[in-house]
């Protein structure tokens, strides 16, 4: 720590665009940054931009970006007094947060105990139910057996979703639309949960086939202050993977949104949350909303909120972790205009969004007024199939949503990415932007499936 109570050196335990994002934040704050990386990321943008870099393992994430001893050794040798975990990888791992604590390195995120409570979806639901947040009908405790699942399903009603207790980010889920689908869905969900998270416990929840996905960005400092920075609408999803995020949520009653934002702050306080986090809700067509989960980390779509509010969320994370109180209260948060973010992935929509990595012969992102692109890519980059296919996030601001859509169409049209075997989601994103239900903001989480169904139909 410096005399001003700020970290001297932050180690960035991540890769890709978020690692570069964090390195930039550090540089602007006068903090030294260390990029740890796998052998595959030796020439990455984050490594080039950071003050120091340490190779911590081979390409597979389990041996590098998930390798806690290697990361802690790198922190120790570079004198890092804090670690920023980004999103994914170790960002929500309570064990990692605990190891950091033990080694005297500040984990930039919520306390390990909070991560543990919110990471277990079953205990998170119980916590939020106690705090008075509305939940979808579901089984509170993990299901002990197929028999228990059947009993709970009878009580809750169909369609319903079987979800992994240890899940999150849209993985480890199965839908059962009628009783006949329950057994298979239960077995598959258990298997996937065990494979993905090493924890086969699952629970049941009512499934809303056409809802809106609304999430609230919150910031809580270690001094009891908590603010909401407004909501994001992440309704455009494919298999629960977000494709387009925007803010403010369009076409919804402002009193409902206000209520959701208040619920989010209330829930975060109840959880003892510290740092930047996101509380996710589903909003049914009847206007009733239900708590889904807390993402206890910086989120991919955080730039939406940054462009609306002018708050640098990564810098705020760092300040909060350094023990600083928030510099503003709820009444100083004034979102302005409308923001849309599109995720450009190295995936081929024509082949079921299969990963389409390769070497980028050409990479020329859009620019110009009110357009922000967060990317780690550059011409010549080898996009590894070992990692997330996110190539770039294109974010645009405009005074209103209609103009933001126009601006996003312009920006995506400017984007040039090509390379042998490389395909991107850009064209598909433009189709969504042009869809009448999206334009009218009458779409639901099933929009992408409907578009894809229309393709395969005649």
């Amino acid at each position: 720590m410096t005399a001003h109570g700020m970290f001297r050196t932050v180690l960035v335990a991540n890769r890709g665009e978020i690692a570069l994002r964090i390195v930039r934040a550090c540089r602007e704050m006068g903090i030294r940054s260390v990029a740890v990386h796998s052998t595959a990321d030796r020439d990455s943008s984050a490594v080039s931009a950071a003050d120091e870099a340490v190779c911590i393992g081979p390409e597979p994430a389990r041996d590098s970006y998930l390798n806690i001893p290697a990361i802690m050794e790198a922190a120790s040798r570079t004198g890092a007094d804090a670690i920023h975990p980004g999103y994914g990888f170790l960002s929500e791992d309570p064990d990692f947060a605990e190891v950091c604590d033990k080694e005297g390195v500040v984990f930039i995120g919520p306390p390990a105990s909070v991560l543990a409570r919110l990471g277990d979806k079953s205990s998170a639901r119980a916590l939020m139910a106690d705090a008075g947040l509305p939940l979808l009908p579901g089984s509170m405790a993990p299901l002990a057996s197929m028999e228990a699942a059947k009993r709970a399903a009878g009580r809750i009603g169909y369609p319903l979703m079987i979800k992994a207790v240890a899940g999150g980010g849209g993985r480890g889920m199965r839908i059962a639309r009628e009783p006949g689908e329950l057994a298979a869905a239960y077995t598959e969900a258990r298997g996937e949960a065990q494979a993905l998270f090493g924890d086969g416990r699952v629970y049941l929840e009512r499934f809303l086939p056409s809802a809106r996905h609304i999430e609230v960005q919150i910031l809580c400092d270690g001094h009891g202050n908590a603010v909401s920075l407004g909501e994001r609408d992440c309704t455009v999803q494919r298999r629960r993977q977000k494709l387009i995020e925007e803010g403010p949520a369009p076409g919804l009653p402002s009193e409902v949104l206000e209520e959701i934002r208040r619920a989010a702050v209330h829930g975060a306080r109840a959880a003892g949350y510290v740092g930047a986090g996101t509380v996710e809700f589903l909003l049914a067509p009847d206007g009733r909303f239900s708590f889904m989960e807390v993402n206890a980390r910086i989120q991919v779509e955080h730039p939406v909120t940054e462009m609306l509010t002018g708050v640098d969320l990564v810098q705020e994370q760092i300040r909060i972790a350094a023990g600083h109180p928030l510099e503003f209260g709820q009444d100083q948060v004034h979102p302005r205009g409308a923001v849309i973010e599109c995720r450009v992935n190295a995936e081929d929509p024509a082949r079921g969004f299969a990963p389409a990595p390769g070497v980028l012969a050409c990479f020329s992102p859009p620019a110009g007024p009110f357009v922000r692109v967060d990317t780690h890519a550059f011409p010549g980059l080898r996009v590894s199939p070992a990692y997330d296919p996110l190539l770039a996030k294109v974010i645009v601001w405009a005074p209103d949503r209609a103009r933001a859509i126009g601006r996003m169409r312009r920006a995506l049209a400017e984007f040039r990415v090509s390379g042998p075997g490389v395909a991107t989601t850009t064209g598909f994103l433009r189709r969504v932007l042009d869809d009448p239900s999206f334009r009218d903001a009458t779409h639901s989480t099933s929009l992408v499936d409907e578009l894809l169904k229309a393709d395969s139909g005649d």
Binding site: T39, D51, E52, V54, C55, I56, P69, M72, E73
Partner: protein
């Protein structure tokens, strides 16, 4: 790499920087006593890589001398299996695990890596003769840092 390096490099005449990088590369190639397979060098935004085919000898220019039969095989490198501090002896002051010229067996310990107070032995993954010890005792190494250059037993 520090933040000051790329700035300084690019503030200078970029032609000169490029020329310097490539000259260094050429020096490396020239100084290599045995045929190379790959050399890569990166300075700031400049990256250069050269790679030779696996059977470089066979593709030698016609009319040239036949490749010497005594040409040493490329070294086999024993690399750090993790980030940590590399010790060449079991404890301070003790005799090193191996010395240059020693013969080692596959599986024989050649160094020890300490990371987070955990000691991990580094073992030879094949038999051979220690040609060069590339790090000094107590060096902090990254994953993949070459520690020892071995002349494989089956090549000598």
């Amino acid at each position: 790499m520090t933040a000051a390096d790329p700035d300084r490099l690019l503030a200078a005449d970029p032609d000169r920087v490029l020329a310097a990088v490539c000259r260094s590369m050429a020096d490396l190639v020239a100084v290599a006593r045995s045929p190379l397979r790959r050399v890569s060098l990166r300075v700031g935004d400049i990256a250069v890589e050269m790679e030779w085919p696996r059977e470089a000898g066979r593709a030698a220019p016609a009319g040239g001398e036949p490749p010497s039969a005594a040409q040493p095989e490329a070294y086999h490198h024993l690399c750090a299996p993790m980030v940590g501090t590399c010790y060449l002896a079991p404890e301070p002051g003790a005799k090193p695990f191996v010395g240059e010229g020693d013969l080692v067996e596959a599986g024989q310990q050649v160094a020890i890596l300490e990371a987070m107070k955990l000691m991990t032995p580094v073992e030879a993954d094949r038999a051979g003769r220690v040609a060069l010890i590339l790090v000094s005792d107590g060096t902090r190494v990254e994953y993949g840092t070459p520690l020892i250059a071995l002349i494989p037993a089956d090549a000598s």
